[in-house]
């Protein structure tokens, strides 16, 4: 069935460093969503990308959708301790989530 592969599985960064998680699909996606799950919490919607090559920003977070609509990335500039959690990409049309990237920030 439809899958979205997400890497890395885990990343531990020093506060102030940048962080990026990547999501890839073998097939073209009509859209892609990103969610954040704080430790002990539930996933919360962050953003949806629809257009080829689309780039959206939310403060220190930058979301990109590839030109071929087969990959996406989430980049956090200058991480803070409040950024800790698991970041998931998702293809909602197939109700599929990536495995998630766990981000830990060391202060």
């Amino acid at each position: 069935g439809q899958q979205v592969m997400q890497i890395p599985q885990y990343q531990h960064v020093q506060e102030g460093e940048d962080f990026t998680t990547y999501c890839n699909s073998s097939t073209t996606l009509s859209n892609i969503q990103w969610y954040k799950q704080r430790p002990g919490g539930h996933p919360v919607f962050l953003i949806q990308l629809v257009k080829s090559g689309e780039v959206k920003k939310q403060k220190r977070l930058t979301f990109q959708f590839g030109e071929a609509k087969k990959n996406s990335s989430l980049h956090i500039t200058a991480t803070q301790t409040t950024d800790v959690g698991t970041y998931f990409c998702a293809y909602p049309n197939k109700l599929v989530f990536g495995a998630g990237t766990i981000l830990r920030v060391k202060s």
């Binding site: 997400q6 996933p43 949806q48 629809v50 909602p92 049309n93 109700l95 599929v96 998630g100």
Partner: protein, 115 residues
């Protein structure tokens, strides 16, 4: 505004015992409803989804079942729990059908430990 309630928040159940997790959505009509499971530190696995009362689709063969007795009520059940059923269970809803990219809203989750 729409809200989703899920309970119980945590439970510890012996192997072989039954399970019932309940979820209700308020503030919307005819939502699509979902049950996901998340093993510790892992991704989200879709278990069941429902597009209407009495309509349940199962994504993964297992000893769990789901029912939707009312439009905004979704129940996850098991007759006999296995150790492997332990995990974090998340109820969720969305507005439009499966073929569109609407946002999925999750409940607070239920932590199940089977001992």
């Amino acid at each position: 505004s729409q809200t989703i309630h899920q309970w119980p928040a945590t439970l510890v159940q012996p192997v072989g015992s039954p399970l019932s997790l309940e979820c209700t959505v308020e503030g919307t009509s005819n939502p699509n409803l979902y049950w996901y499971r998340q093993a510790a530190g892992r991704g989200l696995q879709l278990l069941f989804y429902s597009v209407g009362i009495g309509q349940i689709s199962s994504e993964v063969p297992q000893n769990l079942s789901a029912s939707r007795p009312q439009d905004r009520q979704f129940i996850l059940s098991s007759k006999k729990l296995l150790l492997s059923d332990s995990g974090f269970y998340l109820c969720a809803w969305s507005v439009i059908g499966r073929g569109t990219g609407n946002t999925i809203y999750f409940g607070e989750g239920s932590w199940l430990t089977v001992v």
